[in-house]
């Protein structure tokens, strides 16, 4: 018999029907479901023995103590110590080594050679974005060893403050409740002081302050001077109310509050003379304001160290070679400010950084550095501690090959003997024999005198903290002149006043939870406008727009915020935008 097409059809149909009664299809269904449970591409968390390690957070000068949950060598969660939690950024510090924007390769030799071949007459400078570290001392020694060497700090190290004893805090835009000092200490104190926030925009701190003075941007100095005059029992200059946009009686009442409800404390985002003057008038010096104390340093270092020069006080067009240490960012000076100091004819800029987001965009050489929690460094004394402290950001993970340790690089450049600086410093502290060292694993703190150096050193490497026993010293710190950003000059072409909100750099991609996935914070590259202002600029919520200043323009995205004062544009400032806006600027927003 020969098979026809019909037979084939019959066979196909029959087998199809038969298949249903075999386990095959059902088994397949189940398997597809199982497969969808661990879809290809869904990462499997590594399992392993879990243990705890301690270190200190190096992301901001606050330097909180950190307890890391590690699977094997890998930290999987960072938390603060009981009662001293971390901020949102600190909680995800362990992501930074894997930041997509990270740079791990750089032309080390070429950079060294280029520096070596500079013309020796032009000065060579190190800009240390976070002064007060042991690394800073290394820089100072190196710069002392090099002719025309300069050690630059972005600004004078502001004095330490004591929130705990303050009853009234007058803050000129200081982000008190947004990661200013260790969150824990601030909030512990917050219970006890009354906060008057002077700020043009409704920042979270302003929102939570007892009194928010929505001041006209740039007129802070005027207000501070006015209050100072009131404290001196002088009359209030009539134009102040108009200038600052704050009614006279309110200024008067604020002045009365700070005067009567002492001890008072005046703080600011950027230190400025009028503020220091207020602190002096209020007698805060020595009560709530102290000079920042440093941990002991080896004798040999202090003898041969370049002086700390603030960046502002350097002569323009004088720096031939500028080395910038961005490995521990704190304040970011807009490029325009930096550029002013460089020699006009091709200056050499070398930056130590982990990403191109900062000065890497302008420097000839970017030398990759380790990031927290890879770095080994100490932390400058905290803003809120009157006593000197010394603690290490001990590495939790090993840095990748090819990264540079900035102080080592600079020391080698200056032909300093290569010695383990941190260890020497610890040695000096141990020799001084003052203070106590506290370790977190057992939560004990013992006088340094009673521990051997090796134990002291290992305690520090396990996130231990040395605190000086020597209390705060009375002599008031002499205030140095610097200026609060002056009101930007009126320009009809640029109608809006810029208020920048710094975005800590770098931050884990997971902070998209705050920046993108909720509108809790103004995300980088976004600007906030009052609805009315937005209407005038012809932009709508979420629209793409261009921000224009005298220095150029950049693409931004608009958020409408009815809380914003009209005529002000608030910029979530990445370094790029800070370069664009500078310390104080006017701008206009254009629809694109």
């Amino acid at each position: 018999m020969q098979t026809t097409r019909r037979d084939l059809f019959k066979f196909a149909a029959g087998s199809a029907a038969g298949l249903v009664f075999t386990p095959v299809p059902w088994r397949l269904i189940t398997d597809t479901a199982l497969w969808s449970e661990n879809w290809p591409g869904i990462p499997r968390p590594a399992r392993g023995e879990i243990h705890t390690r301690f270190t200190n957070c190096a992301l901001c000068p606050a330097g909180c103590a950190v307890r890391a949950r590690c699977v094997g060598p890998q930290p999987v969660a960072l938390t603060g110590l009981p009662g001293q939690p971390l901020c949102a950024f600190g909680l995800v510090g362990h992501h930074l080594p894997y930041h997509p924007g990270r740079v791990t390769q750089g032309a080390l030799e070429q950079a060294a050679a280029a520096i070596a071949h500079r013309d020796p007459k032009a000065s060579i400078a190190v800009l240390d974005l976070r002064p007060g570290r042991t690394a800073s001392w290394t820089y100072r020694r190196a710069m002392a060893a090099i002719p025309h060497g300069l050690y630059l700090a972005p600004k004078r190290i502001s004095p330490a403050v004591n929130l705990a004893d303050a009853k009234t805090v007058l803050s000129f835009g200081a982000p008190l409740l947004e990661g200013w000092g260790t969150p824990a200490s601030v909030f512990a104190a917050r219970e006890r002081f009354r906060l008057v926030q002077v700020e043009p925009v409704p920042s979270p701190t302003a929102a939570l302050a007892d009194l928010w003075l929505p001041i006209r941007a740039g007129s802070e100095t005027a207000l501070a001077r006015a209050i100072a005059q009131l404290l001196r029992k002088q009359a209030l200059p009539p134009e102040v109310a108009a200038l600052t946009g704050i009614p006279e009686e309110q200024i008067v009442s604020v002045a009365r509050q700070v005067a009567e409800n002492g001890p008072a404390l005046v703080v600011a985002a950027e230190e400025f003379p009028a503020m220091s003057e207020l602190n002096r008038l209020l007698g805060s010096l020595g009560r709530t304001v102290f000079p920042r104390r440093e941990a002991p340093v080896p004798e040999s270092w202090t003898r041969a160290a370049a002086p700390v020069t603030t960046f502002a006080s350097v002569a323009d067009h004088s720096i031939g070679v500028l080395l910038i240490d961005e490995s521990a960012p704190d304040t970011y000076l807009p490029w325009s400010v930096v550029q002013k100091k460089l020699v006009p004819y091709d200056p050499l800029v070398v930056t130590f950084a982990s990403s191109r987001a900062g000065y890497g965009r302008h420097a000839q050489y970017l030398l990759p550095t380790a990031v927290y929690p890879e770095i080994t460094s100490d932390l400058p004394p905290a803003l809120h501690s009157a006593a000197a402290t010394f603690r290490l950001a001990a590495p939790l993970v090993a840095p990748p090959a090819g990264v540079v340790d900035p102080p080592t690089f600079v020391a080698r450049m200056a032909r300093l003997p290569l010695t383990p600086a941190l260890r020497e410093r610890a040695g000096a502290i141990h020799q001084a024999g003052r203070g106590t060292v506290s370790t977190w694993r057992d939560g004990k703190s013992v006088p340094v005198r009673q521990v051997k150096f090796d134990d002291f050193w290992s305690a520090l490497n396990e996130g231990g903290c040395w605190i000086d026993s020597q209390g705060p010293q009375a002599p008031a710190p002499q205030m140095e002149s610097g200026s609060f950003a002056d009101p930007p000059v009126e320009q009809s072409s640029l109608p809006l006043v810029v208020v920048t909100t710094a975005v800590p750099q770098p931050f884990s991609p997971l902070l998209s939870k705050l920046y993108g996935e909720s509108n809790l914070r103004l995300s980088p590259g976004r600007i906030a406008l009052h609805p009315e202002t937005a209407r005038q600029c012809g932009v709508t919520d979420g629209a793409r727009a261009a921000l224009e200043t005298i220095r150029g323009r950049a693409a931004v995205q608009v958020s409408i915020d009815s809380g914003m004062p009209p005529g002000v544009v608030r910029v979530a400032a990445t370094p790029a935008l800070l370069d664009l806006c500078g310390p104080s600027a006017r701008a206009k927003v254009v629809r694109v």
Partner: protein, 430 residues
Amino acid sequence: MDRQLIARRLPRCPARQFVLWLLPWTALLAFGLYAAGLCLVKGLNQTNMDNRFAFGLWIFLDLTVIALGAGAFFTGFLVYILKLKELSAVIYSAVVIGFVCYSGAVAVLLVDVGQPLRAWFTFWYPNVHSMLTEVTFCITCYLTVLFIEYLPIILKNRKLRQVPSFLVFEFQLHKLIYVLAGAGTFLSFFHQGSLGGLYGVLRGRPFAFREGFAIWPSTFFLFIISAVAVGPAFILLTTWLVSKISQRRLVKPQVLDLLGRISGLLLSVYVLAKTVDTLIWINRTSPGSGFPAWQYYSWNPFGTWILFAEIVVFGLIPALILLIPRLRRRTGWLVSAALMACLGVALNRFVLTVQTLALPTLGFDQFVSYRPSWQETGTFLAVVAYGVLVYSFSFRYLQLFPQERALEAAPAAEAEPVEEEPVLVGRYSL
């Protein structure tokens, strides 16, 4: 070949013209399938739905389409259970429409869920307290029933019936069709209802939440009534449309008239029920859960106009038109009334789906809006195209309108004479 497939005495347009008609729809279908494919492969991020707008165009489409498809079960019920023989003129067409609507809806649902591979979980771990379970069960069962009802219509095709076994099976199945009609009625009745219940049970969405009887909120019953009211209207509409497009007389005018009358009656019942329900909701249910009802309509663009449009413009007015014989007899009025009825139900489904989700519930959240992405719209259009194609093929190659031949044979539709006693004239008196 093409002609061999078309039944005798049913003039159909030449093959070329048919192909020309298919082309645009096929293109649309292809585009839509591409869009749907994107959603399946890349995930639902291709849509503009989001955590606030968890449902969007697709759910709205499903609800509407299924309501319109209700004609299939309701006509089946009238013809086979209530023995309303006049309507057998449209029953086949109704079945095809029902099949198209339901299969389309199910297809879209499969794209809409995040994990289509787990669709069968609902049958494996059913949560019988969930209206969605009821919907899933009923719709899948009813789709099977519809397919079985569709089968004989296909087997009736001139070529297929040449095969003896097909012929016989079709014959035997058709004898038992009333059982299927019964089952279909039961299933549809429940899932039309549970589709309404879907929203009525949302205690957390006071805009949609309704009290009701036993485990069923009032929307359960409202959906049933509205569906059976609009089902005949939609059949009326499609029949009229098809006969316009094909330029053939498909059914006797009385049939359309009857459909209109049924639809009108049920629609008026629906309008009444809906009004009562709305009043109860405004005055008791909604305030009871802490939401003053006026607040829902204080968010643009959804003002009280939408309530008015739903109940009066697209409810009461068509109902009246369909109830007044004089108006009903005018095709223009009849058809536009049917259209309005359909739109009314679509609007009702829209309000329940979109407005419910757009309205804020927390004191500090906002009224959100949503615009479907092209992928969503594409998928939507694919279903429409699919429907048109299936119906076109069915209309060309199957006999959807039994009366068509008769009307062809006797162009002047004379009133059916009745059999009478023999007149006793001599035989062969010629």
